[in-house]
């Protein structure tokens, strides 16, 4: 079963990581979901697919009142990111889904109405959560053509979607990266294959290098913190992407 771990707390401001589900069927890729809680509202980042909804919902409910969910941030359009949308809306019909304008007419195939979606322009936007300002940071072509990451300047956390993802073996259940060199081996093949544009990658590296980041939290695998964040950005900047095999 998934469990929510508090990875950041400052009074009424929290980040929860719902990570590493050891009980899910092996044929479904493991995903991390993150919840930003601020004051009376919460935002769920990449809520995941239909199949894992019950475990994500129960993990979230254990740590946070689910009726406080004000929105969902979908980094892009993939099924492991947002195919559970209809289920979240079934629980809370007035939820807003923040996603690239590019996917505004595609995501309703998973659920929701026109009023559900808040399109994010290519340049990004500010998402307000009970007074907290979160930034949708452009990450187009990494890997999706309409792709955003979410930066919390107060917590100094960057939710980086598929960037930083690692496909870890079943027995690697650590929440945080313990040994960068060992960990990054599980990220290499994924980034080479899934990240299609070298130019987009360099743009992203420059953009996020200007941000103060204590934690880089990806949608798959473990969380980078402290010096490992810059280590990852440097590693990614040097990596040849858009290749089938190394």
């Amino acid at each position: 079963m998934k469990q929510a771990h508090c990875i950041y707390q400052d009074e009424e401001h929290r980040w929860l990581a719902i990570a590493r589900d050891t009980t899910k069927p092996g044929y479904i890729i493991d995903t991390n979901e993150y919840v930003v809680v601020h004051g009376e509202e919460a935002l769920l980042c990449d809520p995941g697919g239909i199949e894992i909804f019950p475990s994500v919902f129960s993990a979230l409910s254990a740590e946070c009142d689910p009726t406080r969910l004000a929105g969902i941030f979908a980094s892009h359009q993939d099924p492991d990111i947002i195919s559970s949308l209809a289920l979240w809306l079934e629980f809370k019909p007035d939820l807003k889904c923040y996603t690239s304008w590019l996917w505004q007419s595609f995501l309703p195939h998973f659920g929701g109405q026109d009023s559900t979606f808040v399109p994010i322009p290519d340049s990004g936007m500010t998402i307000r959560l009970d007074g907290l300002e979160l930034q949708a940071i452009p990450a187009h072509y990494l890997h999706s053509s309409g792709n955003f990451h979410l930066y919390d300047p107060k917590a100094k956390i960057l939710f980086s979607g598929d960037v930083g993802a690692a496909l870890l073996p079943a027995d690697h259940n650590e929440l945080y990266v313990q040994d960068f060199s060992r960990h990054i081996r599980h990220a290499e093949g994924f980034h080479k294959r899934w990240m299609g544009s070298d130019r987009a990658k360099r743009d992203w590296c420059e953009r996020v290098s200007r941000l103060e980041i204590d934690m880089l939290v990806p949608q798959h695998g473990a969380i980078y913190q402290g010096a490992d964040v810059q280590r990852f950005i440097n590693w990614f900047a040097a990596l040849e992407v858009g290749v089938l095999r190394s």
Partner: protein, 207 residues
């Protein structure tokens, strides 16, 4: 064929409703094809009656009636088909709602009692499902009424086919050919009757 596997946590996919619509559509398609055949058979019978002249005047009249019957039947089936294709949307809505409700129920069960908003979510889901089921039941009633109406029309077709057999006996040298045509009519109409019986037993929703 393998039985559908449960997707997760024992929630089996619900495919029965859509499978029923597929069966209804297949029966309708079969009847439409047969009605088209009757239309052609009636045209041939009209030509045959013309060749037979005075001896087959009655047969000619009946062939015209059978042709009209085939055209009426085609219209009935077109309207039935429209109804069933409309019902695909309603059935899909019910199936989706049931699946969503089942997964949400599992999520609430895992979360334990007292999750804020759970009761409201359950009530909203149940209301939506009930509304969709009412729509589906009303469609089902309309479909059944339309099938009954078509069955009455086919009864008339059966009477025409039997009368054609009697008229064929007075067809002089064309009697054997006319008898063959009228027997074919009777067989095809019996086939339609059987299809309609199957159709009459199908339900878009379980009682």
């Amino acid at each position: 064929m393998n039985a559908p596997e449960p997707n997760f946590h024992g929630i089996a996919p619900r495919t029965g409703e859509l499978a029923r619509i597929v069966r209804v559509n297949e029966e309708i398609k079969a009847i439409v094809a047969t009605a088209f055949r009757i239309n052609l058979m009636a045209l041939n019978a009209i030509f045959l009656a013309k060749r037979a002249g005075n001896a087959a005047l009655g047969f000619g009249v009946l062939s015209n009636e059978l042709r009209r019957f085939a055209q009426d039947l085609t219209r009935h089936m077109a309207s039935l088909r429209e109804m069933t294709s409309g019902s695909v949307g309603s059935v899909t809505g019910v199936v989706q709602q049931q699946r969503i409700a089942a997964i949400l129920a599992e999520a609430l069960r895992l979360s334990g009692e007292g999750v804020p908003g759970a009761r409201e979510a359950r009530r909203r889901g149940a209301t939506r499902l009930a509304e969709q089921q009412v729509r589906l039941r009303s469609l089902d009633l309309r479909l059944r009424a339309a099938v009954e109406e078509t069955q009455q029309l086919v009864e008339l077709g059966g009477v025409l086919a039997r009368s054609a057999k009697i008229e064929a006996a007075y067809g002089g040298s064309f009697s054997a050919a006319l008898m063959q045509v009228s027997t074919d009519f009777a067989e095809v109409i019996a086939q339609i009757k059987r299809s309609l019986e199957v159709l009459g037993k199908e339900r878009l929703v379980k009682d």
